[in-house]
């Protein structure tokens, strides 16, 4: 356990420092609010519309599909490195894994999740 003490120390110092600056800024900084200053910051231009805009569900879908089909790489890399050692067992296993992924892809495709505009 002693090996982790420095890390713990680092965390403590980091959090304490951040907290100190936060408090200091609030306590001793000058305050002169004007209406312009109070509006939410939007790259300098005037903000329009409601604050909470729901992003289209399409973004989520794309993101989740990306995660699903990207993670396969994590499994495929070690298999590729150990390809000879694992032999036919590894090949069959990975083959069925990829086959399942393909089924998933077909499903997603057929369901129209890959089309941005329907």
């Amino acid at each position: 356990m002693t090996a982790y003490v420095p890390i713990l120390l680092l965390f403590t110092v980091a959090f304490a420092l951040a907290g100190v600056f936060f408090v200091l800024g609030g306590a001793i900084g000058p305050k002169n609010p004007t209406p312009e200053k109070m509006i939410p910051y939007e790259c300098g231009s005037e903000s329009t519309g409601a604050r909470f805009v729901k992003p289209s569900v399409k973004f989520y879908l794309t993101a989740i599909l990306f995660v699903v089909f990207d993670i396969e790489a994590v499994f495929i890399y070690p298999w590729a490195i150990q390809f000879r050692a694992l032999g036919w067992t590894g090949f069959v296993t990975m083959g069925s894994f990829i086959a399942l992924l393909v089924v998933g892809l077909v499903y997603v495709w057929k369901k129209g999740a890959l089309e941005w505009e329907k």
């Binding site: 399942l100 089924v103 499903y107």
Partner: protein
């Protein structure tokens, strides 16, 4: 290929799920305004039921061959234990799932929820449940749990447009994840304490402190407590039951039935695996300082609490949700007696779950059958006068409720009887008495349904539940009804099988 024989039930269900998914994707998509009565999902329902029944039949076939004799894949052992315990639970889970699928085949088209995703989700949930019953390692246990739970979360929120269903799904998801995290954390601590993730290794490490790496007992205790909390969440024992009524009420009724039956059965399988396989002996399994008194207390609180609250419900569906909590309490009684009467107590858990499966799915099925488009039967008032208008439905409902109450000669009676017998044999008299008194208490709210069905007439002008017409639902009810009576009148064989399926204590 013979090596796959031992896991063939799982493979059948998993492959069936994949095929169903593809079939659903390629099937005719219903356009808006299409008023055909049967959409794609009706055929899928049959397919799902056939798949799951095939799984159950494969389980029975492997049982006949004898799983001990079968060669399995190398390296499968702790992650998927192909023993009789697994097969028994596979059978029960598949049976419950198949009946739930049949209910869905009638329910979904009737209530304009006719989307085929239901069936692959149900099938994959069943895959998770089977894996859960078979998992002999904390890693595969967790993966199985998540596979099952994710599918069920989606099933709960299946009625997307209904705020209630969505709320139920979110609640279930959050609390379910919380429980999973507790389990995971407990598992991690256990690994830290013993250096093992497989249950047999954990048990060996706890049992033999003189082993190479002695287990840190304080850590083991904390881990056991966390894992017990997680398990209690999953079997919805009071006070970890808060999600259950809302989730059960919000979900579409077939999904509710599925949750009440297959998911709960799998959770109890997991509980038995962990408690008997991992913490099965030594001080941890003693009545002085182990989990049995905790479970006994949980059982008492669960039974009594759930029965008291169930009597106050105005919705039949919610009442059945509380009833499923109460039944979890009855099963917990049997689990608590395991250290004193290992095989018999486990057999009583297994028989009870089988009896509970057919009775509960039947009760939910009868509720499904009572409702029709736009008028789902949920409250007691909806059922008023049903005995006069639709006597066959009412008789079926009565049969399942009597089984849940524990009136002979139904399966539910024998299940309760067997649990009480085991408990008394183990010398836990107060627990048995609480169990039996609770079953008398529960009679009150089950009878209330009978009161409305047979003894009340609907209030003038009130909407009247019109039973739907669906061959699938009727078929499911017939199967469940026959099983309720058959299991109640000839319980010897299932009990002998359950005794054979029990996990060995050493």
């Amino acid at each position: 290929m013979t090596r796959l024989m031992a896991i063939s039930p799982l493979l059948v269900v998993a492959l069936g799920g994949v095929l169903l998914m593809l079939a659903e994707a390629f099937s005719h998509r219903r356009e808006e305004g299409d008023v055909r009565h049967t959409g794609p999902s009706s055929e899928l329902a049959l397919g799902t039921a056939v798949t799951l029944l095939a799984g159950a039949i494969m389980a029975a076939a492997v049982w006949m061959v004898g799983p001990e004799k079968l060669e399995t894949l190398p390296g499968l052992a702790p992650y998927y234990v192909a023993d009789r315990f697994t097969l028994f639970f596979t059978f029960t889970i598949c049976l419950g799932g198949a009946l739930a699928a049949l209910l869905a085949g009638g329910y979904l088209p009737e209530h304009k929820l006719d989307r085929g995703e239901f069936y692959p989700l149900l099938t994959f949930g069943t895959v998770g449940a089977i894996l859960l019953a078979a998992a002999g390692d904390l890693l595969s246990l967790f993966i199985a749990l998540e596979t099952m739970s994710l599918a069920v979360y989606a099933l709960t929120g299946f009625r997307r447009t209904s705020p209630r269903s969505t709320e139920a799904a979110v609640k279930y998801f959050l609390l379910g994840s919380f429980a999973a995290v507790l389990l995971l954390y407990g598992g991690a601590l256990l690994y830290g304490a013993t250096g093992h993730t497989d249950l047999a290794g954990i048990r060996a490490a706890i049992m033999h402190p003189a082993a190479a790496k002695p287990a840190n007992l304080a850590l083991v205790l904390v881990a056991a407590a966390l894992i017990l909390c997680g398990l209690a969440f999953k079997v919805s024992a009071v006070p970890f039951h808060m999600w259950t009524p809302d989730a059960y009420e919000g979900a579409p009724t077939p999904a509710t039935g599925y949750m009440a039956v297959a998911v709960k059965t799998a959770a109890f399988a997991m509980m038995l695996r962990v408690l008997v396989g991992g913490f099965g002996d030594g001080a941890l399994a003693s009545w002085a300082a182990g989990w049995p008194p905790v479970l006994a207390l949980l059982a008492v609180v669960t039974m009594t609490g759930a029965n008291l609250v169930a009597g106050r419900q105005e919705s039949v569906k919610r009442m059945l949700a509380y009833s499923s909590i109460a039944h979890a309490g009855y099963v917990l009684v049997a689990v608590a007696t395991i250290p004193r009467a290992s095989e018999e107590a486990q057999a009583s858990v297994m028989y009870y779950l089988l009896a509970y499966t057919v009775s509960t799915i039947g009760a939910f099925g009868a509720l499904v059958l009572c409702g029709s488009r736009g008028a789902e039967a949920v409250s007691y008032e909806d059922l008023a006068g049903l005995g006069k208008r639709h006597p066959a439905v009412a008789i079926a409902f009565t049969l399942f409720l009597l089984s849940l109450t524990g009136v002979p000669p139904t399966a539910g009676f024998f299940g309760k009887w067997y649990v009480a017998k085991t408990t008394i044999g183990a010398g836990l008299y107060p627990l048995a008495i609480v169990l039996l008194l609770n079953s008398a208490l529960a009679a009150y709210y089950y009878l209330r349904v009978l009161v409305y069905m047979y003894m009340r007439d609907p209030a003038p002008g009130a909407p009247i539940a019109k039973p739907m017409r669906s061959g699938y639902v009727v078929g499911a009810l017939v199967i469940a009804g026959v099983l309720v009576l058959a299991l109640g009148i000839w319980p010897t064989t299932p009990i002998e099988l359950a005794v054979q399926a029990a996990l060995t204590a050493r």
